[in-house]
Amino acid sequence: MSASDDGSSSPRSQLCSQVFGDLLDSIIVDAASECHRIARLGLDRNLEEEEEELRLSAQARVADPSSSSDGNSKNMVDIFGQTHPAIASEIFDCMNCGRPIVAGRFAPHLEKCMGKGRKARQKTTRSTTMAQSRNSRGSPISVYAPYSTANSINRVPNGGSSASAEYKDYAFDEP
């Protein structure tokens, strides 16, 4: 084998080219294999595929009889093919007052039930304000949840005037 390279025709150069071609072939096979995978799995957003998918999603939308605007995802079919009404209709018991509540109306109910948010229907009496001031001192006893929150609620007991008594007695006066 010649020690120096004559050019591209020397055996050593030929050998080099062969090795290079071998490497290139492997890389070509890699690329082809990956493209094959992408094509078969539909991972590539093909133009035709996109149109097909658009058609399918339009069909899904049309299939729902009560379909409304685009932004309302609650009336559209979800990925499991289920539709949901706009307002949740399941009924459960409020953990605060114990009444059966419709789930879709739970948030407004809680507002009134726990007195947070709008202060509609809150009768501020001396009893409730004194309870608030006592509560702000960090009293650990809170047997009756409605009266131990910082905000008073609208359900003032009939014996509200007994609030001048001690806090512990006050708790016992609850109906």
């Binding site: 050998l15 090795v19 290139l24 493209c35 094509a39 539909g42």
Partner: protein, 111 residues
């Protein structure tokens, strides 16, 4: 039962003279054993990605798959689609760099 498996008889001893490994094979073995083949592959792959060669090949595959229908393509098809264009479109600088490294390896391996 003896004839149930079609198998050529196991050569007990080297009845036939073993073929001399070709120079190409020797080089290949040396490349792999020394780890140089792996390095060269990584280098070539990196250079081809940098210069956009890989993206070109992917675009070719994509258009071919679109024409043929994406569930009808085989790996063989794609290889045959890419190989001629792929071999021709490697940038000269990349090819020169790789050839130089291969040549250096051959020199160091005293072949």
């Amino acid at each position: 039962m003896r004839g149930s498996v079609n198998r050529p008889p196991t050569p007990d001893v080297d009845d036939e003279p073993q073929k001399e490994p070709t120079l190409q094979e020797i080089i290949n073995i040396k490349l792999i054993e020394s780890g140089e083949k792996e390095k060269l592959m990584d280098l070539l792959r990196e250079r081809l990605i940098e210069c956009g060669w890989r993206d070109e090949m992917k675009a070719l595959c994509r258009s071919y798959a679109r024409k043929k229908g994406r569930n009808n393509v085989t790996v063989d098809d794609l290889i045959h689609v890419i190989t001629p264009k792929g071999r021709a479109s490697v940038p000269d600088s990349v090819k020169a760099e790789l050839l130089q490294r291969i040549r250096a390896f051959l020199t160091s391996a005293a072949l």
